[in-house]
Every structure is written in C-alpha cells, then in structure tokens.
C-alpha cells in the first residue's frame, strides 16, 4: 500500500487540532519530540487505498529557530522525510499564514492551504478569492470547516496527488540579496534540500544550516560585502517575505464591508483584561475550580477507601500474612491513584481544555503574568503550579507548557512548596487535628515563606533568562467537546500507566518492610535529622517512608507514636513535623515523573536539594522560635 506523510503547520489557535479531529477522528497519539518539551501529535488514516499519516506541529508564526516550538517544526519539516504540508490558515488574517507557507515553499516542499474560519471572516466583511490565490501560488486552496466537516474530503483528495506537485512560486529578494544567495549556493555541499533554500536560511542566521557550508569564513566575507546595502540582511529577508505575503493576501482578499462599533468580544475583554477586575476574576475562577476539584478528590478518595476496606473484609483479608499485606496495600494504592487521576488529571485537563478552546486561558495567563513575573516565571506557570495543589505528579508533567527546559525545571522546583492534596491532608489531618487549625495555618504560611526565600536564592544561582512577553489573544469561541474530551482522556491514560502501578508498589513495599520491622532500621542512622528537627527518633519512619506513599504519612505517625499524638508531641514539634514533611518533592511518584521529564541526574538533585532544604528550613525555624 502507498504511504504518504503529511505535516500540519499553522499559527497557534488556527484550528489545527480540530482539523486533525475532522480528518481522522479523536484517535490521537501525542508524544514529546525527543529532548524537548514540545508535544507532537501523530495519527493515521487510510483514504482511497493510501495510508496517510498526519503529524501535527506546535503552533508557530514563522519557522525560525528562536523558540523550542519553532526548532521542532524546523526539524520535522526539513530533516524528516515528508511528502507534503497542510498550512492551516486563518481567513481573517491570511497574510500571516502565507508567511509560513512561503518559508515552506522555499524548501521545495509541496503544500496545500486549508482555509479555516471562512464564515468568521465573512461576518467581518472579509471574502477570500480562493481561485485567485490558487493561481498566484500554484497550489490548492481549500476552504474548510472542521465542525461541519465542509471541505475535508476535498482536502484529502488533494493530498492524494501532493507527492507529484512541483513548487512553482518563488520569493524573489532584491538584487544584492539574490547575489549573496547565489554566492553561497555555489559553495554548498550536496544535500537533498534545495541550495537556494539553504542559502536563505544561512543568510537569516540559522546556525543549523551552517554545516552545509564548506567554510564558514565565506559567510563573513559575503556579509561584509553586503553590509553597506544590507546592514541587517536577516531582517530584510523577513520584511521581503512578509511584504510578498501581504501582497498576495491583499490581492485575494475582498473587503465587502467594514464592521464598526464595539462587539461582545470587546466587552468581555474590557472586563477580563481590566487592571483590577481581570486578576480578581482569574483568581476567583481558579479558587472555585480548585475548591471543587479538591472536594471531589476527597469525596472520591473516602468512597474508594471505604470500598477497598469493605472489599478486603469481605474477602476476610485481615492483613497478617504477606500476600494479604501486599494485596491490601496495593489495593489502597490503587484507590489513592484513581482518586488522584480522575479529579486532578481528567477533570483538570477538561477544564483547562475548555478554558483554552474558549480563548479564556490566554487572558488568565496575562493576568497571572503580573504575579508570576515577580518570581521570574512567565504567566503560564500558573497552570502547573495550580495543578500542584492537586497532585505534584501531573503538575510536574504540566510544566511542559513552559517554553524551555530550563524554565520548565525552574518552575518544577517550586512544586516543592505547593502542597499537593496528600501534603494538605498531612497539614490538616496531623497538624490541624492534633495541634489546632491555627498551627496548620502557620505551616501553610511557612511554605509560602520557604518558597519566597527559594525564589530569591535561586534567582541568584540559576540564571533564568526571560523571554519578553509576546502573545496573541485569540478571539473567544465556542468550544468543541470532542477535542477537549480527547485531550483529557489521553492525559489520564498516560497517568494511569505510570503512576497507579507506582502507588500500588510503593504501598506494598512499605507493607512488607513494616511487617518485617525493617522500617526501624533507619531510626538509628538518621537520628541526626530528627535531633536537628527536635523530634522523637521514631518520627523518621513517617518522614522517610512517606516518600513511598505520601497518603500513609499520617497513619505511619500514629503507628509509631500511638494515637494520642498531642500528648507525645509538643505543638512546636507537631508544627516542625508538618513543615518537614510538606517541603520538598513529596513522593516516589513525583520523583519518577521528574526522571521522565528531566533525566535521572536532575531528578535526584532536585529531590535531594528540595528535601534537604525543607529539613534545614524546619530546623532553623525551630531555633528561631526558641530564641523568642
């Protein structure tokens, strides 16, 4: 069977994933592009006896090598074997889509335009003459609507012949630039990519293409010769390309009428982007959302835990023999896993997807920018950090929204101070229950303080360069249920395969160690920690083994100290225990996710440093408290 490989390219929010859904249905496979935070979706479909595979790239405005998204798109387009590209275009701003198209056509890659938002454009008084554009560019221009599936078959049909299409249109630069292009072309090594294209990329300063130059010194001399006419040649290339894109768009666009006056979109923006109302509404919606998620999570957990214990007693499993312990502990781990996966992964991503597709999320990000900017984080950081209130594990994964690995790691380090639901359960269930709600409140306050000091220290040590803020605010739209559900389901599936087995194993391992009394082995060697914290030696058991399953920390404490904790520990000790168990990468699952995202070395260093910092911090605070 014949195979063709098609890449979807387009700017953010242009409807690439909706188109992909319309093309093949919601059977998406999302994977990370190797070594990056960028996700690439891959799907397959057989059409007219031909196996088509589609690759969805991240939303970009140009194929440069500035951001990680652009680098990935560049690699897919220019280094992988592909047969053609669908440039998903926005009928209300055609010139922008044509810019990327021209870059692709320069590489002699056959392309078709899928023109989205045609109805939108018409309501704004904009009409696109597809025939005229087709003639000018020599490629198919197909109006589509992913919701009504209009144009989808036409698009698939045009893809059948895409392999044989020759690229006819060419961007002509001014004489000096053209001369430089031919000078460089003559010095290039043979490759499958067109020499003209490589020369343009080299002149634009794309270092990935320097390898095709035999001798990099040639470039310097060419640039020097040009410096009088074109002191910034890369800029002149971009301007020429955009100018041609504009011209092409203008010729094909007909303004039927202009819309005047403020519409509903403007009114919503006036409120959501208001200086004070914007952040207030953002906070309010986030707090309500998390209130609901935490409530649902707790409810689900107690229901599942009851079910588990009923089930175990129904089977007459009392927990004395080894298989019983393993079974009981793993089932508890399973229950805990499900009560994390459903609310904090599935529901969270449903809500996030809804906010994103409606265009609200980008406004929230702008509002969050004010607060997070102070910590050297972009506004987007609120997504993983908010999710961290539910569970650190999916939150670690959610740091992928950030644009570089470095930024991602920086934000992930702050998850040490965002109490996940299990840590909140320790603070409320141990500190709040035995020491009073005020003491629990102090623990939360301490976490905030520890985070501020961490931010201050790390800003000095770990230089995080911030990209300047440059973000398009998409129009508000009606969301598509299918899209959002597919995304939520995919995240949950991924979570189930990794985290739930770990939770089950972690619980079982603790059960076995406990049954053989092995947990006590750590008490003596680690007494230096407990004495630094001013805690009884045995409390090291919940502090260390809590790492296997954080939910068990409270129960472990009771099992080593007896249920009358408030008579064994002083309020200060309860507080210290709370702080020491709340700061740091909380558990083996979060640690595993860190390994997956950042590799073993970085995961180990972040986990040890953050836990060490927590212990150091708690001990120091203790000494400060005693001074007063």
């Amino acid at each position: 069977m014949d195979k063709i490989k098609i890449v979807l390219v387009g700017q953010p929010n242009v409807g690439k994933s909706s188109l992909l859904n319309a093309l093949v249905g919601p059977k998406v496979v999302i994977s990370n592009y190797p070594g990056t935070t960028v996700e690439v979706t891959k799907v397959q479909k057989t059409f007219d006896g031909i196996e088509m595979s589609f690759l969805d790239t991240p939303g970009i405005y140009s194929i440069s090598d500035r951001s990680e998204e652009e680098k990935v798109t560049e690699k897919i387009l220019f280094e992988e074997e592909i047969d053609g590209v669908i440039v998903v275009s926005d009928a209300t701003a055609l010139e922008r889509s044509l810019y990327v198209l021209l870059q692709i056509m320069e590489a002699d890659i056959p392309a078709v335009i899928a023109l989205n938002f045609v109805e939108d454009a018409r309501s704004k008084g904009i009409k696109i003459d597809c025939k005229r554009l087709e003639k000018a560019l020599g490629i198919s221009v197909i109006p589509i609507n992913p919701i009504t599936k209009k144009g989808i078959d036409d698009l698939l049909n045009s893809l059948l012949r895409i392999k044989d299409k020759k690229v006819k249109f060419r961007v002509e630069y001014d004489d000096h630039i053209e001369e430089a292009i031919s000078q460089i072309s003559s010095k290039l090594k043979e490759t499958r990519l067109p020499k003209r294209f490589i020369s343009v990329r080299i002149l634009e300063g794309d270092e990935d293409f320097y390898k095709y130059l035999g001798d990099e010194k040639i470039l310097d001399s060419i640039k020097k010769n040009l410096s009088e006419k074109h002191p910034k040649i890369d800029r002149d290339i971009a301007v020429t390309r955009y100018g041609i894109a504009s011209l092409l768009a203008e010729e094909a666009t007909q303004i039927v009428h202009t819309v005047r006056g403020e519409d509903i979109q403007e009114k919503v923006d006036r409120l959501l982007l208001h200086r004070s109302w914007g952040p207030v509404i953002t906070m309010l919606i986030l707090v309500i959302t998390f209130g609901v998620l935490l409530y649902l999570g707790n409810l689900l957990q107690s229901i599942l835990m009851d079910l588990t214990s009923n089930f175990l007693s129904f089977l007459h499993i009392t927990g004395n023999s080894m298989p019983d312990i393993v079974l009981a502990r793993s089932l508890t781990g399973l229950a805990a896993g499900i009560s994390i996966a459903l609310p904090y992964v599935f529901l969270f991503y449903l809500l996030l997807g809804l906010l994103e597709d409606m265009g609200i999320l980008s406004r929230f990000i702008v509002n969050a920018e004010r607060f997070f900017g102070k910590f050297g984080m972009p506004g987007k950081a609120f997504i993983p950090l908010a999710l961290g209130l539910g569970c650190t594990v999916p939150a670690t994964k959610a740091t992928r929204v950030l644009s570089s690995k470095r930024e991602q790691f920086y934000v992930a380090s702050f998850l040490s101070f965002v109490p996940c639901s299990s840590r909140t359960a320790i603070i409320m269930g141990v500190v709040g229950f035995y020491g009073g709600i005020r003491l629990a409140f102090y623990v939360f306050l301490t976490l905030l303080m520890a985070a501020l000091i961490w931010a201050f220290a790390i800003k000095k040590l770990y230089h995080v360069s911030r990209e300047p803020l440059l973000l398009e605010l998409p129009p508000y739209r009606k969301p598509l249920a299918g899209n959002i559900l597919a995304k939520g389901w995919f995240r949950m599936k991924d979570f189930i395969y990794v985290v739930i087995p770990l939770l089950m194993v972690g619980g079982a391992v603790y059960g076995i160690l406990d049954a053989y009394n092995i947990t006590h082995m750590v008490v003596q060697p680690l007494s230096v920690i407990t004495s630094w914290l001013g805690l009884p030696d045995v409390t090291i058991i919940p502090l260390t083994f809590g790492f296997l399953q954080k939910d068990l920390t409270g129960a472990m404490l009771v099992s080593v100290l007896g249920s009358n904790i408030s008579s064994v520990l002083t309020p200060v000790q309860i507080y210290t225990f709370g702080v020491a168990s709340a700061i740091g990468i909380p558990c083996i699952n979060a640690f595993a996710m860190l390994i997956r995202e950042f590799g073993f070395r970085r995961a180990v260093s972040l986990t040890t440093v953050s836990i060490g910092y927590g212990i150091l911090f708690a001990g120091l605070l203790l000494r400060i408290i005693f001074i007063f």
Binding site: S62, S64, R66, T92, A93, A238, L469
Partner: protein, 71 residues
C-alpha cells in the same frame, strides 16, 4: 510616540535590535504600515489591536515599535 489607551496610530518603524525577535513580531502581523490601536495596559506590557487581532506586547518590545498618530 506614545499612544494612549484607545488611540489609533500607524506603525512607521520596528527597530528591534534582535533580528529573530523582529521576525517573530513581523510574522505575527505587527508590521510597518499597519494601523494599531492600544486596547489596554498591563504591568510590563501593553495590549494592542491590529486589524482584528489582539496581542499582548512586552514593554521592552513595544518601545521599539514607532508609531505616529492617525489623523
């Protein structure tokens, strides 16, 4: 020059020293000759409208976008 909120201007120059950032700005549709309206301000940035698209632009980028007032 500086535009006040809801004032309309015309972009006459984009003098960003970083060429790749310049390409990003241009490819987003922020181009010389476009009419621009300031739709609001946030700390550290400005919200602008060009054609029917809205952008949040960092102060550090916006200061390189030269505009003249329309009419």
């Amino acid at each position: 020059m500086k535009l006040k909120p809801y004032e309309e201007g015309l972009i006459v120059n984009i003098a960003l020293p970083d060429s790749k950032l310049f390409e990003r700005v241009v490819s987003m549709g922020i181009f010389i000759g476009e009419k621009v309206t300031v739709a609001g301000k946030i700390p550290g940035g400005v919200i602008i409208k060009i054609k029917n698209k809205k952008f949040v632009v960092d102060k550090n980028i916006a200061e390189y976008i030269r505009v003249i007032k329309n009419g």
